[in-house]
């Protein structure tokens, strides 16, 4: 099963490699990983998307908790949560396709953030499924470049990950 683990970790050199190293050393999967400092600059928040049986996920969370730099973590998949991923897509356009690509982007609530004679850069956020769907809807030959942040998430309501 897919799990999204959100981690608050000391914002120190090497913290990221401790987490990444743990996953590779113990043979756990990482589908995606995002990390950036939080509103408190001494803390980073990391989101790891992984999959595994309940036993494996239990070990992953225990092993992560054991890292000295990890302050707190939650498995978002355990409760209701929202998740979003950011994507930038560079699309080739011609006079004939320019309007069509823009319309498609609008349908997916994308934003065109760069326009050149030959194409667009489209910014889009949403669940990973939605981003997949948008890329699939584009003409395969028109897609020049795709960059995705990997999902990040937050639990809904009162529950959450903070000090």
């Amino acid at each position: 099963m897919r799990h999204i683990i959100s981690i608050l970790i000391e914002n120190e050199a090497g913290a990221l490699s401790r987490v990444a190293g743990l996953f590779s050393a113990r043979g756990y999967n990482i589908e995606s990983l995002t990390v950036a400092p939080t509103e408190d600059s001494t803390l980073s928040r990391m989101t790891v998307v992984t999959h595994g049986s309940d036993d494996v996920i239990e070990q992953i969370t225990k092993q992560l908790n054991k890292l000295i730099d990890v302050v707190k973590l939650i498995d978002l998949a355990e409760a209701v949560h929202v998740e979003r991923e950011l994507m930038l897509v560079k699309v080739k356009t011609t006079d004939e396709t320019r309007e069509e690509v823009k319309r498609l982007s609008d349908i997916f609530r994308g934003k065109i953030i760069d326009v050149t004679l030959n194409g667009y850069v489209i910014e889009m956020t949403g669940t990973s499924d939605k981003l997949d769907a948008f890329v699939a809807a584009l003409d395969e030959d028109a897609v020049v470049e795709v960059v995705r942040s990997g999902p990040m998430g937050m639990s809904r309501g009162e529950k959450g990950l903070h000090l």
Binding site: I9, E10, A13, G14, S17, R18, G21, A25, D55, E58, Q59, K62, Q63, N65, K66, I68, D69, V70, V71, L163
Partner: protein, 578 residues
């Protein structure tokens, strides 16, 4: 008080009450060594190889409970230390390893003797630090000791660039008395509800087992474990790391369990209906084939490390907490409980356990014309009155030591259980002897293992650590040969060394006493003679039976009740198998 970085490190060691610093100098730590030169409280032990520095400090920690401290230089000094660090990590030994690093301006430039020590050791330490600012140094030292010694202990590396220890830059020094880390708060007290449930289950058991590991020793819980086991009257087995955590000569002790554990311990685990695991981690050398491990048992597991629980074997009642705290709480509940143990069931259980005991699985041929390694360990046990500190290397001799030396006290049995590091024994013995100068210290080793850190015979000369080296010399890497005999149709691929040094001359070359013992009848007198030489290191080269194997044995892939036993005519084993 204004101090330089080098002085801060040394002063903080003094403030931590560090007696011995095991190390080896080099370019990146010269400022530090100069600071050591100017003080007398922390005694530096100069080893002959950095790996040995870590093993000696590790064994010092194992035998005293105090953290072991190491100082090595950058690059090769640091990488040489890694095997020792991994050894300590797998056995959860509290240690602080200080490594020199190239100066901060050149980090990352492939400078002379530069290696990414923090990166290399990350998977084999409890935590590590790279000190980039002099202002953080004292606090980092405090954190290192705090992390190493609390919770589940472990080694902590502090990597210090050379410019941080510059003698010309001084800052105000104050060693923090306490430290709190928001990201690190080990659990101490167990969950009361879980403890209550565990006690209810324990009291209702028909075929109970107490399975205790190294956590009991690390957590100083031997007294509590002994009281707990004796109050209940249940059989006790120890892991390799747990030996001495429960008195081996007590009638409730049924030996070590696992791959080379006793028949009675493994059979009892297999048939048990309630097992309480205390500070043990269901290691693969204990469980054998996981799917068939303890099929009838409900399992209670006490451990300080949540990640040890249900890692390999799913348990029914997990309790995270300090072993002494949890056992004390259990003792109170048991004493206050009006539930009585089913004495009839317990009696029947003991009579079954005793039948397994009667198989006498550790019996061996006592009439051989060759010296049996088991016999040497038995005699060592008698000559030292069971009071010695025994370190070991890794292989057959390690198993013979664990089977035939009966440890009644914790911290007396010092071996590399988790990593299985050959070369551990001799430097370990030196570390133990420094900590316990009055005690008998024996290093049980083999002719292959001993050669991995043989250079430490010089350290032993320099610091006058008169340990006794018990070399069980069978001219083979015995354990490798045994596996090749059982699983590779006796193809002894590279498990034999063509040239073995003359250990007597070698010992003498280092200034020690060497003895070679070839006849069974000479074993006892030689041991008595050696241990009478209180102020000399005696290297005892016992020429043992080349073909001897360690029994019982659970072969790879087999379940823990499927043991290979030694079958000798006329022994009770024979009857059992018939």
């Amino acid at each position: 008080m204004e101090l330089s970085g080098g002085e801060i490190v040394v002063q903080s060691l003094e403030d931590e009450g560090v007696e011995f610093l095991f190390g080896y100098p080099g370019g990146a730590v010269l400022h530090l060594y100069d600071a050591i030169f100017h003080q007398e409280k922390v005694k530096h032990i100069l080893v002959r190889h950095e790996q040995a520095a870590v093993h000696s400090a590790d064994a010092y920690a194992r035998s005293t409970g105090k953290p072991g401290v190491v100082l090595v230089t950058s690059g090769p000094g640091a990488t040489n230390a890694v095997t020792g660090i991994a050894t300590a990590h797998l056995d959860s030994i509290p240690m602080v390893i200080i490594s020199g690093q190239v100066g901060t301006p050149v980090i990352g430039s492939d400078a002379f003797q530069e290696v990414d020590m923090v990166g290399i050791t990350r998977p084999c330490v409890k935590h590590n630090f790279l000190v980039k600012n002099l202002a953080d140094l004292a606090e980092t030292m405090k954190k290192a000791f705090h992390v190493a010694t609390t919770g589940r202990p472990g080694p902590v590396v502090v990597d210090i660039p050379k410019d941080i220890t510059d003698p010309s830059i001084k800052i105000e020094y104050e060693y923090p008395r306490e430290i709190s880390m928001r990201s690190y708060n080990p659990v101490v007290k167990g969950h009361s509800g879980q403890i209550k449930k565990a006690v209810d289950l324990l009291l209702s058991a028909q075929r109970p087992m107490i399975y205790a590991g190294g956590g009991v020793i690390l957590g100083e819980g031997s007294a509590e474990l002994t009281e707990f086991a004796q109050l209940l009257g249940y059989p006790v087995t120890n892991t390799l790391m747990g030996l001495g955590g429960y008195p081996a000569t007590d009638k409730q002790f049924i030996g070590m369990l696992g791959m080379h554990g006793t028949y009675e311990a493994n059979m009892a685990m297999h048939e048990s209906d309630v097992i309480i695991a205390i500070g043990a981690r269901f290691d693969d050398r204990v469980t054998g084939k996981l799917e068939e491990f303890c099929p009838y048992a409900k399992i209670i597991h006490i451990d300080i490390d949540p990640s040890s629980i249900s890692k390999t074997v799913k348990v029914d009642i997990p309790i995270v907490g300090q072993v002494t705290e949890v056992l004390r709480e259990m003792l109170d509940l048991i004493k206050a409980s009006n539930v009585r143990i089913d004495e009839k069931a317990l009696e029947a259980w003991w009579s079954q356990v005793n039948k397994w005991r009667d198989v006498n699985c550790l019996e061996y041929d006592r009439h051989s014309e060759f010296i049996k390694p088991q016999y040497v360990v038995e005699q060592l046990y008698q000559v030292t009155n069971g009071e010695a500190f025994v370190t070991s290397d890794v292989g057959q001799h390690q198993m013979f030591a664990s089977q035939y030396y009966h440890f009644d006290k914790p911290r007396r049995w010092i071996n590399s259980g988790g990593l299985g590091t050959m070369g551990f024994g001799l430097p370990a013995a030196i570390g133990v002897k420094l900590a316990h100068p009055e005690a008998d210290v024996a290093c049980i080793t083999g002719e292959a293992s001993i050669q991995m850190c043989i250079q430490e015979l010089a350290t032993a000369t320099q610091y006058r650590t008169p340990v006794k080296v018990i070399n069980l010399n069978n001219r083979y890497m015995g354990m490798v040969r045994q596996w090749q005999e059982f699983s590779y149709e006796c193809r002894y691929s590279e498990s034999y060394m063509d040239t073995i040094p003359d250990f007597v001359k070698l010992a003498e070359a280092y200034g020690h006493v060497g003895m070679q013992i070839e006849k069974p009848g000479d074993v006892r007198p030689a041991l008595e003679e050696a241990f009478a030489m209180k102020d000399r290191l005696v290297f005892m080269d016992f020429i043992t039976d080349r073909t001897e194997n360690v029994y019982p044995m659970i072969e790879a892939g087999k379940a823990h009740h499927e043991m290979k036993l030694r079958v000798a005519p006329g022994t009770p084993i024979d009857r059992e198998l018939a």
